[in-house]
Symmetry: C2
Subunit: 219 residues, 2 copies
């Protein structure tokens, strides 16, 4: 149906649209996909011809409904495979991205239907990111950064903003993973660092840590 390159462009544009909430620039796509802006222009024109996005010269692009559907389907596959790799093959959550980048392009509707069922139709991937349903719809989540949480409030870790091995390994050391309950005991306004409770342990974390951890608060 679509080439590997096309799927990767649509996926990247989908993510960028969610970040910036407006037209996506050629440069932004080039950076995200690690290619040159001139290559992006070429591909974007091709995708516009296929009605997967709208494109006006020098004005950036926007996915059409069709384009969004394709992108969401690729993301759904990526995240389902990540769940498989972590839950069934016991990979660590910081090892699965590259493999899922390949698996997301396997073409078979039936495969994804069965994989989803096999995994118990999960709503979130191992990084806490929501898995689009078969129609491309994302479960609405009230996820905030830990740094936005007030003193004496608590939340459940549902994901990370940055996912460098260093950061993930830090979290591991501190026994923080998806599903871990975190309570904010105190906040330093000077530098944004905070005292938190994880299980029975209490310790300080820097603002840099707090602004890269997503938590879900119960409303």
């Amino acid at each position: 149906m679509f080439t590997l390159a096309e799927e990767n462009y649509l996926k990247a544009i989908f993510h960028l649209e969610h970040e910036s909430k407006c037209e996506v620039s050629t440069n932004a796509i080039a950076e995200s996909i690690e290619t040159k802006p001139s290559s992006v222009t070429d591909m974007v024109q091709k995708l516009a011809e296929k009605k997967l996005l709208t494109y006006k010269r020098y004005k950036g692009v926007q996915l059409t409904a069709d384009g969004k559907k394709v992108a969401a389907s690729v993301i759904r596959k990526h995240r389902l495979w990540e769940v498989f790799l972590v839950e069934k093959l016991n990979f660590h959550w910081d090892e699965v991205h590259e493999i899922a980048e390949q698996l997301e392009h396997i073409q078979s509707e039936e495969l994804i239907i069965r994989l989803d069922k096999f995994l118990g139709s999960p709503d979130f991937d191992p990084h806490g990111d929501p898995i689009p349903d078969k129609h491309g719809v994302l479960k609405r989540t009230e996820k905030k950064l830990l740094s936005e949480i007030e003193k004496n409030q608590q939340g459940v870790c549902v994901g990370v903003k940055e996912s460098s091995p260093e950061f993930l390994q830090y979290l591991d050391k501190k026994k923080i993973s998806i599903g871990t309950k975190i309570k904010v005991l105190g906040k330093e306004f000077f530098d944004g660092s905070m005292m938190i409770q994880v299980g029975s342990e209490q310790f300080f974390i820097s603002h840099k840590i707090a602004e890269n951890l997503y938590v879900q608060t119960q409303e």
Copy 2:
């Protein structure tokens, strides 16, 4: 490491070498891979430069040790994924080939190590074909056609020669699948048909059926 096209050529040549036991011709490769002989010549020269096979103009090709290793690794992946699809995702054995053709190209040593362990390190795929080990070595099998089995001997179904949906559906109806024990009760020399026992059922099968079913006899 290797492109999709390269892996498919190596795999096809590997299979052809096992069938004909001698140099593989350009035409044979073209037919097996469904492409034109001229394309085969191109690719074969490229693979020869990479020392994956030896090639003499007009004389056909032969895989080198390196080439065999790559081919066996692709076949190992293909067959492991087929086991996954049938055993874990409940696909029927006649539905998995196309999907495995895609999955076999996923690049990750660790993934295959873990998939193999997850599946219990199987020796055979759902069609009864042996799965090469990580070094590319195949378990020696004494597989014969059911038509070669003598009266009163028995064997375990380990695969099929033909794998058309019609044939596989026939086997399904007769409750014959991989692992099914089959005993030859009698043989008609005139037409090669035979009376067999499968479970508690006894029935006649034609020679055509018997010469398309592989069984393993205990020696």
